[in-house]
């Protein structure tokens, strides 16, 4: 009944379909010929596209793309028309928005106290790649210069601010001399060249921004996109500024009661058998001296989606970056992380947790560059894999010549819950300095039988014992370095529920 009121899907104006390579070509033609685009934006895009042209699309031989199912991505047929950047399409009908809004209420529902503390909680919502101002709560404060906005909105309201964010990024990039193809991620560059929307988060010097900034990438099962979505996320923290950001991809059905559109997204997309279009997100993080950023990325948008995230960060003197990637569902998720520790005492904590089932796959290529003396990095990636799921950790720590006093650790632990589950693990170190403390390691195992029996002997049922041990395996990733806030609490609760409902129910270990 409700479905009959759905607006018809926008049909592509050109009925032809193309492969990704051709799509890129035509889209660039269109962008390059856009006379309305200001020079600062054009040059940003051009620079990214030139670098993409130099490296080309990846092949399975590229170290960072090993084992990734590139074939499916390259051969996908795409409707050939490219939606111009910052196009503000009319929002869907009110029933759709109201349904989503209701469904969103359940996401990260905060307790009353936390709500009081943070009277205003910025939230930027993208539905099927399109920014929804109706569902979002953005902000631009004249008083202290904080910006939390979509790219499209900021482009309209304050292009000068947008331009300054891009140019400060450019300044960082130019400090690097080796921006060669080895360091380039083709899809990240394409995203920079083509980004149609995204977010700009600008926290000025000396500002502790307390509320957790939420960025939600919502997929609705009824409206499968016919083209890839390119989203850019610019995050800039000034000197001694701090912020917490939560990025979440999720699948919501606006026409389903909230209870069933819950965290378990499995059922939502079962009907959408055909591979959906990739969502590409490029995140450019710039942390000035003594800035402090916590960013949690939760990938949990059902079974048929393909998300390619790339996070590139410049970390300044005594600044710290704290990234957590949690992958709970999604056909093929990839989060490539490239971190440059640019100045003394810069530190980065990169943690990851995959809790996967069915044939979901998650890929985590990371590059951590210790470029100067006395920088610190720590990586802890854990995966819990049931059924035919797959996880890959391909991490490299690169210690530059003269970067003495570097402390770097890298650990990848995997728990395989079925005989079909698969893990690739490659923790790597490339050290050109003499006086460093670096460690790397990996473990792959199963649930410990002694621990299980110990729990049975204390009256824990088989399923309760397994749940507890699986959760315990994940525990340190979710607690280490995590701020004690609502975002962390709800992430923990979500992972716990996912383990209980999806992982355990799916598979008798």
């Amino acid at each position: 009944m409700v479905h009959s009121e759905l607006p018809t899907m926008e049909k592509p104006s050109v009925e032809t379909t193309v492969t990704l390579k051709d799509y890129i070509h035509t889209a660039w033609q269109m962008l390059a010929n856009d006379a309305t685009m200001p020079d600062w934006l054009k040059s940003y895009r051009q620079r990214a596209f030139d670098r993409y042209s130099a490296c080309g699309l990846p092949t399975p031989r590229h170290e960072a793309w090993k084992n990734y199912p590139l074939q499916g991505l390259m051969n996908q047929t795409i409707a050939s028309d490219f939606t111009p950047p910052f196009t503000v399409k009319a929002e869907r009908d009110s029933a759709f928005i109201a349904g989503l809004s209701k469904a969103l209420e359940g996401i990260n529902a905060s307790d009353k106290q936390a709500e009081k503390r943070a009277a205003f909680k910025p939230r930027l919502v993208f539905v099927n790649g399109q920014y929804s101002s109706a569902l979002s709560a953005s902000m631009q404060l004249e008083k202290n210069g904080v910006v939390v906005q979509s790219c499209s909105a900021l482009y309209q309201s304050d292009p000068a601010c947008f331009e300054s964010v891009l140019s400060s990024w450019r300044a960082q990039e130019e400090k690097l001399t080796e921006l060669d193809s080895d360091l380039s991620d083709a899809f990240a560059l394409l995203t920079s060249a083509f980004f149609q929307d995204g977010v700009v988060i600008f926290i000025p010097d000396e500002t502790d921004f307390l509320p957790v900034i939420e960025i939600l990438l919502v997929t609705t099962p009824q409206h499968q996109a016919e083209q890839p979505a390119f989203l850019q996320q610019f995050i800039h923290l000034g000197k001694r500024a701090s912020a917490s950001i939560s990025v979440q991809s999720l699948c919501l059905d606006p026409f389903q009661p909230v209870e069933s559109a819950s965290e378990d997204n499995t059922s939502n997309l079962e009907s959408a058998e055909k591979a959906s279009m990739p969502v590409l997100v490029n995140r450019q993080i710039c942390l000035q001296d003594e800035a402090n950023l916590t960013l949690n990325l939760l990938l949990n948008d059902g079974l048929s989606t393909r998300q390619l995230h790339h996070t590139q960060s410049f970390v300044g003197q005594s600044a710290s970056l704290n990234l957590l990637t949690a992958t709970l569902s999604g056909k093929t998720n990839r989060h490539a992380i490239q971190t440059f520790l640019m100045d003394t005492d810069a530190s980065a904590t990169l943690n990851g947790l995959d809790v996967l089932h069915e044939s979901n796959k998650a890929f985590h290529p990371t590059q951590t560059h210790h470029r100067v003396a006395n920088t610190t990095s720590s990586q802890l990636y854990k995966s819990i894999l049931s059924q035919q799921s797959t996880s890959s950790f391909n991490g490299t720590v690169l210690v530059a010549k003269h970067a003495n006093g570097t402390a770097a650790e890298q650990m990848n632990n995997s728990l395989l819950l079925s005989e079909q589950a698969k893990v690739w693990t490659r923790p790597q170190l490339q050290i050109l300095a003499d006086d460093v403390k670096c460690s790397h390691g990996a473990t792959v195992g199963q649930i410990n039988a002694d621990q299980l029996f110990y729990l049975y002997s204390r009256g824990f049922s088989k399923s309760a014992a397994k749940n507890l041990l699986i959760l315990a395996f994940a525990a340190d990733v979710l607690t280490q370095n995590q701020p004690d806030n609502q975002d962390t609490a709800s992430l923990k609760a979500l992972v716990s529920k996912h383990i209980q409902t999806t992982i355990h129910a799916d598979h008798a270990v």
Partner: protein
């Protein structure tokens, strides 16, 4: 079928545990060759014996460890055939094993673990679960029995990084929280210094009651100075070669196991 009320009756009058002609082993290797023990309410039985005599196998069989197999005989607990129950059901019905080597479980908070175990038992008994605050009160009380630091309870994962003595005290704490009908202490004294031994023993003593029974498996007589057994059984080559009272333990300490192993066993 035994109803709840007759359960209670069984606890007060009939034996808690009857082990009859128990044969058991691991990986097709026979370790126990016909053991019989009866534990009545209020009794403490000590099982002594040299290495490899089958002491630990007996405790593993009682709690249903999957690696150990009963090949003949029977074990009756509160009037019911124990072999039909899974390990977790045995625990819920009141059997508790204090492990010789308590297992570390990183990532599981000790106090939370104790509460979950306690509440599982409450649910099994049809009683109400305790919320974290009420349980913390109960736990504080119980922790005094074994002089356990609050830090080990609230800040640490189960047994993770605990010293040998702390692990054993944690076992006795679990026993205090779960209030078993039958407690099996598997070499609880091993690896304990004198102070820890005293603390553990006084914890165990305070848990003795006319309603429960205990089996204390040990190498040495030392623990029995602190926990006085009603019966002492000497196990060798999978058989009980001598049973007696606490005097037997003293004799063993003096003369060594060879004393019994070398003489023909008298009729039990």
């Amino acid at each position: 079928m035994i109803s709840a009320s007759s359960d209670k009756h069984a606890q007060s009058n009939s034996p808690i545990l009857v082990v009859d002609n128990l044969h058991a082993g691991v990986n097709d290797k026979t370790i126990l060759n016909g053991i019989s023990i009866t534990v009545n309410p209020g009794e403490v039985h000590a099982i002594m014996g040299p290495n490899g005599s089958g002491k630990s196998t007996l405790s593993k069989i009682l709690v249903g460890h999957p690696d150990f197999e009963m090949t003949a005989g029977s074990v009756t607990y509160l009037g019911e055939d124990l072999s039909t129950y899974e390990p977790d059901e045995r625990a819920l019905r009141g059997i508790f094993l204090a492990f010789q080597y308590p297992v570390e479980i990183p990532g599981v908070n000790n106090a939370a673990f104790l509460r979950m175990a306690y509440n599982a038992k409450m649910v099994h008994q049809g009683k109400e679960e305790l919320d974290p605050l009420d349980f913390a009160e109960l736990l504080e009380e119980k922790a005094k029995l074994v002089e356990m630091d609050a830090d080990l309870l609230n800040q640490r994962a189960v047994n993770e990084g605990f010293s040998g003595g702390e692990k054993k005290r944690n076992e006795i704490l679990q026993m205090a929280v779960l209030e078993p009908t039958l407690a099996v202490l598997d070499e609880t004294d091993s690896g304990l210094d004198i102070d820890a031994l005293r603390i553990v023993a006084s914890g165990v003593n305070s848990l003795r009651s006319p309603n429960n029974g205990m089996i204390i498996v040990t190498h040495y007589q030392r623990l029995l100075n602190y926990i006085e057994p009603d019966f002492v059984h000497v196990l060798a080559n999978g058989k009980i070669i001598r049973s007696g009272d606490k005097v037997l333990a003293h004799e063993l300490e003096e003369k060594g196991y060879d004393w019994l192993l070398n003489e023909p066993s008298p009729a039990a």
